[in-house]
Amino acid sequence: MSEFLSMGGYGTYVWSAIAIFVVTLAIDAAAPLLKRRRVLRELRGRLRRAQKRSEESA
């Protein structure tokens, strides 16, 4: 196992390259999920405010 992790002495290089790959793509995958939450929350807020206004004017 430690032999596998050491990668023939190049462990730091190999594993940091893999880590950059995984972390960057994980952020890329998470971004639209977070944006979706924000977009829908803002839209619901706008709809509620519009509803309130129409109730007040009625």
């Binding site: 990668m7 190999v14 940091s16 390259a17 790959f21 793509l25 979706r36 977009v39």
Partner: protein
Amino acid sequence: MNPLVLWFHKLGSPPYFYRFAGRLLPWFWGAALIGLAVGLYGGLVAAPSDYQQSDAFRIIYVHVPSAWMSLFIYAFMAVNGFIALVWRIKLSETLAMASAPIGAAFTFICLASGSIWGKPMWGTWWTWDARLTSELVLLFLYLGVLGLYQAIEDRRQAARAAAFLALIGVVNLPIVHFSVNWWNTLHQGSTIKLFGPSLIDSRMLWPLLVMAIATKFLFAASLLSRARVDLLELEAGKDWVRRIALAEDAA
């Protein structure tokens, strides 16, 4: 009209595309994750180490697929940008703009992993040679497209301006690809050849091809989920988006 053309027209409609992409997404994510797991296992464990580079060569399994994706996604973005400019199809604008951040991510991975690979093998993190410099220009092109898209208020005008910039940048794609042949460079030439035998042992080759396919699925999944959210944002005033917003509030 023939049914395929008819379906294509339907696909251009945002609510239909939203549902259709939603059905595809779990399959694309699944294929991407399985492919990445198999490809990384094949590359890091199953493949023998290189006779010159020992285990350092294993960086190839993230570096080369990312480099391929950086060019592939740029071409995809430019084609959609072209369609958006010529036929004014809203979905193409959305797809072109949604692919830019994914392309930038892969270009960044390519540059970073290449730099990490360069240190032990070339003795330097960075050198201003043709391949490295043109790939850096590619990253700046992606960032330029993203920046221009954010800088203009009107979303559709912004998308068209950014699509135009993306089209001009296409000139850089052959430069990146052929840079290793045109200039004397530290970077090695192509090992994998579409035409003719590749210069790599098959035990080292198959994980690379699996990674190449897995990153395609990853791009497709990320692209569709980004495009879906962008359509919700663009069409926020429409009924179909309102229904989705309220349905998720209740859930």
